[in-house]
C-alpha cells in the first residue's frame, strides 16, 4: 500500500530545499510515516543514481562531512508527474469516500 508513497514524500521534502538525510527522517516522523534511518540511505542512493537527486558535501562540526540532497531538473519533472498521479488518486479516493458518506447519511 505504501509503495511509491515514501519516495513521493521524500521528493516532496527535498523539493523545499537542500536538506540532510536525518532531517528528512525527522520530517517523515512528523508526518507519521515511520521509517528507520537505514531504510532511507538505499532509497536516496537509488534516487540519486536515477538522476533525480544530487548532493553536496557540507562540513559538519559534529562528525564526518554530511551529504545535503537537492532535486535535479529531472527530479523536479518527475515530482510534477507524481503530483499529477497523486491528485488523480486522491480525487478518486475522495470521491469514493464522499459517495459512501452520502449513502450513509441517506440511510440515516
Amino acid at each position: 500500500m505504501r509503495k511509491g508513497i515514501l519516495e513521493y514524500c521524500v521528493l516532496l521534502i527535498i523539493s523545499r530545499g537542500e536538506i540532510y538525510a536525518s532531517d528528512i527522517i525527522t520530517e517523515l516522523r512528523n508526518a507519521r510515516l515511520l521509517v528507520v534511518e537505514g531504510t532511507l540511505y538505499p532509497l536516496l542512493t537509488r534516487l540519486k543514481n536515477n538522476g533525480l537527486l544530487s548532493y553536496n558535501w557540507v562540513e559538519s562540526t559534529s562528525g564526518p562531512p554530511r551529504k545535503y540532497y537537492n532535486l535535479t531538473v529531472d527530479g523536479r519533472a518527475f515530482l510534477g508527474q507524481l503530483d499529477g498521479t497523486w491528485n488523480e488518486l486522491s480525487f478518486a479516493v475522495r470521491t469514493a469516500q464522499q459517495l459512501m458518506k452520502d449513502d450513509n447519511s441517506n440511510q440515516a
Partner: protein
C-alpha cells in the same frame, strides 16, 4: 575496568568499549551482507557508517565522555533500524530485487568455482573430491574414472600426482566455500560452519572410522615427505641460482668497468667491438650491460625471495627493472640499426700479380706481418732505415675478426702463373665500401719458387671492421708441380688437400705434392686416389 577498542568509522576515530565494539561489528556485518548484492552497496554502507559515526560522536559529546558504551551503540542501532526493518523499508520502496536476492541466496547464480583439494572428504589427498566440486559432478564418478585411468596404463597416477602438486588445500572457510561455488555471505558462512561441525562429529564418532583412514594416513605421510623434499630441492636450486647469478653479475660489472677503463687501448679492437664506431662504443657497452645485467639481477632477486622469504617481489622494484630493461632494448635496437647501416653496401676490386715462372712451387703459410712506417713508429720499430718491417709470430694474436684469407687453386688458361687478389668490404655507401676495401693490406711474398701467403689481411688500426675480405685465385699452368705445406690446407677452398696426406705411411708428413693437369690438381703421393673434393 573494561577493555576498549579504537575504530575508524566514517573517517572518525571512536573509542568503544569491547561489548559495544562487538555489537557494532555484528550490526555492520549484517548491514553489509544485506546490501552485498545491491549495485550501490559501497555507497549505501558508507552513508550508513558516516551516519553511525555522527550519531555516536553526537551522543558522546552530549554526555561529555570519551568512550562509547553498549547503550550508545544500541541506541544508534535502534535509530538506524535493524536489517529486518530495512526489509520492510525495502518493501515500502518497492525494491523487490534487493529483497529477493538477500533473502533467498539458494537461488542466486552460482559463483565461479575454484579448484582446491577437499581435505574434509578425501581418500588420499582430496584431489578427486576437489575435481568433483569444481566440475559439479559426484565425487564417486571422479574416483571411478581415476581408477580406470590408473588401470589403463597408469596415466591416472601421473595425473593424480600432478594435480596433487598444483592444487592447493582448501584450508580456510572462504576457500572451502569458493571450492563448492558458494557465495561469500553471512548465511552461507553459517551453513558452512554448521556442516563442518556435523562432519567433525561424524568423523570422531565410531561409525565415522572408515576403511579409508589407514590408506589416508599412509598417503598423508608420503605427501608430507614429498612436499618437504620438494621445498628443500627448490631452496637448493634457488641458492645455486643465486650463487651463479652473483658470479655473473660480478663478471658483467667487471667487464663493463674494464671496457670503460681500457676501451681506447685494446678491447675495442676485438670482434665484435671493432665493428663499432668509436663514439658509439661506450653507449653500446652500457646498453649491453643493462640488457644482460637486469634479467640476471631479476632472477637473483626472485630466487632470494623464493629461498628465504615468502613475500612477493616488490612491485616498484620489478616494474622499474622492467622499464629500465625495456628502455635498454629500445636503445639497443637503435644502436644495432646504426651499426648495421655501416654494412649496407658492398664493394670489391681485383688486382693481378704476376708470379715468376718456375717448374715447381712450394706454398707456405707466413705468420709474419708487414708494418707500415707509421705502425713501425707506433710499435717502437722506427729505428730501422727501411720503411717496411717484418715482425714474426703474430699469428697467435687473439681473435680479432672473421677475416681469414681464402685461396682457390685453378688451372691457368693463359699458360702462366698468375695470382689474382680480390679485395671486398662493406660500407655505408659504395664509395665508403670501396675505400674500406682499398685499405685492406695483404702480404704475399715470392722468394724464388717459394710462395708465402699471409693467413689474414690487415686493416689499419683506426679502421673499423666492415667485413673486409681477401680471396686469392692462384692460376697454375698445366704441368706445374705444387708442394703444399699442411698449414695452408685449411685456407684452400676448392680442394680437400688432407686426402693426399691421409694414408697410413704418410699421415704425419708436412707437405703434400701435387701436379696441375687438364682435369685439375692431382695428388702425387697417393696416385690411385683422386683428390678432387
Amino acid at each position: 575496568m573494561k577493555k576498549t577498542t579504537i575504530i575508524n568509522i566514517g573517517n572518525s576515530i571512536i573509542h568503544l568499549e569491547e561489548d559495544a565494539y562487538e555489537a557494532l561489528t555484528i550490526y555492520l556485518n549484517e548491514v553489509k551482507a544485506h546490501f552485498a548484492h545491491s549495485a550501490d552497496d559501497f555507497e549505501i554502507v558508507t552513508d550508513i557508517e558516516n551516519r553511525i559515526a555522527e550519531l555516536l560522536l553526537g551522543r558522546m559529546r552530549g554526555d561529555n565522555k570519551q568512550l562509547a558504551s553498549l547503550e550508545d551503540v544500541q541506541a544508534v542501532v535502534a535509530q538506524m533500524g535493524s536489517v529486518s526493518d530495512f526489509a520492510e523499508g525495502a518493501e515500502a520502496v518497492a525494491d523487490e530485487t534487493l529483497r529477493e536476492r538477500s533473502f533467498e541466496p539458494e537461488f542466486s547464480e552460482p559463483q565461479p568455482r575454484k579448484l582446491f583439494r577437499d581435505m574434509d572428504n578425501r581418500v588420499v589427498a582430496g584431489v578427486c573430491s576437489g575435481v568433483g566440486h569444481y566440475l559439479g559432478i559426484d565425487v564417486n564418478l571422479v574416483r571411478v574414472a581415476l581408477v580406470l585411468l590408473v588401470l589403463l596404463g597408469g596415466s591416472g597416477l601421473l595425473v593424480y600426482l600432478i594435480l596433487w602438486i598444483i592444487m592447493p588445500k582448501a584450508e580456510t572457510r572462504p576457500e572451502k566455500m569458493a571450492m563448492r561455488g558458494e557465495q561469500l555471505n553471512l548465511r552461507n558462512f553459517k551453513k558452512n560452519f554448521d556442516e563442518e561441525m556435523a562432519a567433525l562429529d561424524e568423523r570422531f564418532g565410531p561409525a565415522g572410522r572408515q576403511a579409508g583412514s589407514f590408506i589416508r594416513e599412509f598417503f598423508d605421510a608420503i605427501g608430507r615427505f614429498l612436499r618437504v623434499l620438494g621445498r628443500i630441492l627448490i631452496k637448493i636450486a634457488a641458492i645455486c641460482i643465486i650463487a651463479f647469478g652473483f658470479a655473473m653479475l660480478l663478471t658483467f660489472f667487471i667487464g663493463l668497468v674494464a671496457f670503460l677503463g681500457f676501451w681506447d687501448y685494446e678491447v675495442s679492437n676485438y670482434f665484435p667491438m671493432n665493428a663499432v664506431d668509436e663514439h658509439l662504443q661506450v653507449p653500446i657497452a652500457i646498453t649491453a650491460f643493462v640488457l644482460f645485467f637486469i634479467p640476471v639481477l631479476a632472477l637473483v632477486l626472485f630466487s632470494i625471495r623464493v629461498a628465504f622469504t615468502d613475500r612477493p617481489v616488490n612491485k616498484i622494484t620489478s616494474f622499474s627493472l622492467l622499464i629500465i630493461w625495456l628502455a635498454g632494448v629500445g636503445v639497443g635496437v637503435y644502436m644495432a640499426a646504426r651499426v648495421s647501416t655501416e654494412f649496407r653496401e658492398v664493394a670489391e676490386f681485383n688486382r693481378q700479380q704476376a708470379v715468376k715462372a718456375y717448374p715447381a712451387y712450394r706454398l707456405e703459410l707466413d705468420n709474419t706481418e708487414l708494418f707500415s712506417k707509421s705502425d713501425s713508429v707506433r710499435y717502437g720499430l722506427g729505428n730501422y732505415p727501411s720503411d717496411r718491417h717484418v715482425v714474426l709470430n703474430t699469428g697467435d694474436r687473439p681473435f680479432v675478426s672473421p677475416n681469414n684469407m681464402r685461396l682457390e687453386i685453378v688451372k691457368s688458361e693463359a699458360g702462366r702463373m698468375i695470382l689474382s687478389e680480390n679485395y671486398s668490404s662493406n660500407g655505408r655507401t659504395f664509395e665508403q665500401a670501396l675505400r674500406n676495401a682499398q685499405n685492406i693490406r695483404y702480404k704475399f711474398v715470392q722468394q724464388d719458387s717459394v710462395l708465402n701467403f699471409s693467413p689474414k689481411p690487415r686493416v689499419g688500426n683506426k679502421e673499423r671492421w666492415r667485413n673486409q675480405e681477401i680471396r686469392l685465385l692462384l692460376q697454375v699452368p698445366v704441368g706445374t708441380r705444387l708442394r703444399i705445406n699442411r698449414k695452408v690446407n685449411g685456407y684452400i677452398q676448392n680442394y680437400y688437400i688432407w686426402s693426399c696426406l691421409n694414408d697410413e705411411e704418410h699421415a704425419e708428413r708436412e707437405y703434400s705434392n701435387w701436379i696441375m693437369t687438364n682435369e685439375g690438381l692431382k695428388c702425387l703421393d697417393i696416385p690411385e686416389s683422386s683428390p678432387e673434393n
